[in-house]
Symmetry: C2
Amino acid sequence: MIIEHKSISLAEQVFDRLETDILSGKYQPGEVLTELKLVGDLGVSRTPIREALRRLEQEHIIEMTPRGILILGVSQKDLEDILEIRTRIEGLAAYMAAQNITDEQLEELRETVELQEFYVPKHDADRINVMDSKFHLLIYRFSGSVPLYDTLMPLHKKVLKYRRASVENEVRSAYSSQEHRAIFEAIAAHDAPLAEKYMMEHIANAKDYIQKKGNH
Amino acid sequence: MIIEHKSISLAEQVFDRLETDILSGKYQPGEVLTELKLVGDLGVSRTPIREALRRLEQEHIIEMTPRGILILGVSQKDLEDILEIRTRIEGLAAYMAAQNITDEQLEELRETVELQEFYVPKHDADRINVMDSKFHLLIYRFSGSVPLYDTLMPLHKKVLKYRRASVENEVRSAYSSQEHRAIFEAIAAHDAPLAEKYMMEHIANAKDYIQKKGNH
DNA sequence: TGTAGTATAATTGTATACATTCATACAAAG
DNA sequence: CTTTGTATGAATGTATACAATTATACTACA
């Protein structure tokens, strides 16, 4: 087997690093950075940093101002809107995946579901989180639609900080895993409408849980 | 009244220019450009050009390769997927706009609808196109949701080349104008579910028209 | 004649130098 | 004491210089 060693540019690495740091909450909304500070922190020149910043600005998670880089992050209102949007189109991804998925892809999806089921009773939040996230990302990919993938991916990533909380709750975590199983079975049966229905319910449930939590 | 003279950076201008040129079909899919060629064409250095290219790459309408900039554009398959996605979430934008729109914003939307109605019988395709596009963009904005705006905007822009064809057809153009009127009236009445229903039908109709045209 | 190796030139990737902008503070005038 | 003008410096915006990569063509060898 040939391993492709695609060398990732610094600009790309910086983008991934900053995006994660912002969406995970390491940099807080309202905080102001400077390019010079990032040069010191990341050890690369301003050029790749700026290329990354432009992309982050396009995603509306930072704003480049004359005084520095303003961290915007994801607000509670943003989060609600994002889950409302995902409720409507992530079902479409499940629908298309049910139509287009190959046997090989199906096995990859099955393994992800089963690993999540394996970690849930062990309360291994980190690994549950990885599998939970991977399940959704695989469905985006297996939908076979680049525009749908491109649309869902940034929305998915922006829920990072809040998804973590769901995964740490034992009750929600168990339900979530069951919902993934139901979606998987529908996709495996190539029952597109059912896969869509289950996925829409799954996102709606996640939305309800996060909102309930937000209103303490 | 204070006029804000926000000076737009070269990077931003280059992005807008290249995006339009690619999505309008001036650069054809498969074509390969180089940064040096763009330096000559646009009269700016590589730095702002590269910042723009990174954003275009993120939108998947170009690909930066070691041999140059590969133009991807928007395929027929992409277009179908995009309209399927828009069918599902542009209704949400209309729904939210019906809830959140102010009287002042309502007048701006009304003027857009009425100007479109004014130009349709005159067969002024350019101006019809501008108003048609503006109608949708205003609703994105008046929805009051930044994530929804950010999600819909790139999808809307990618239909540019194909929307033009719809506008030039007298029958579809007249229907489209009527559909905008119906959506507007529902929003004006703050009837969110109705606004959503009409918008979904409107996008579905546009999709049907474009697909019928594509299958000649 | 075919194939593997290698030189090369064109292109992107990165770093740095220079230009411009703009918030801030401070001083002067009313 | 308020307000307006202006100097200043820190930051982004832009241009250019340098490094690394890679497809291509050519050469040498089997």
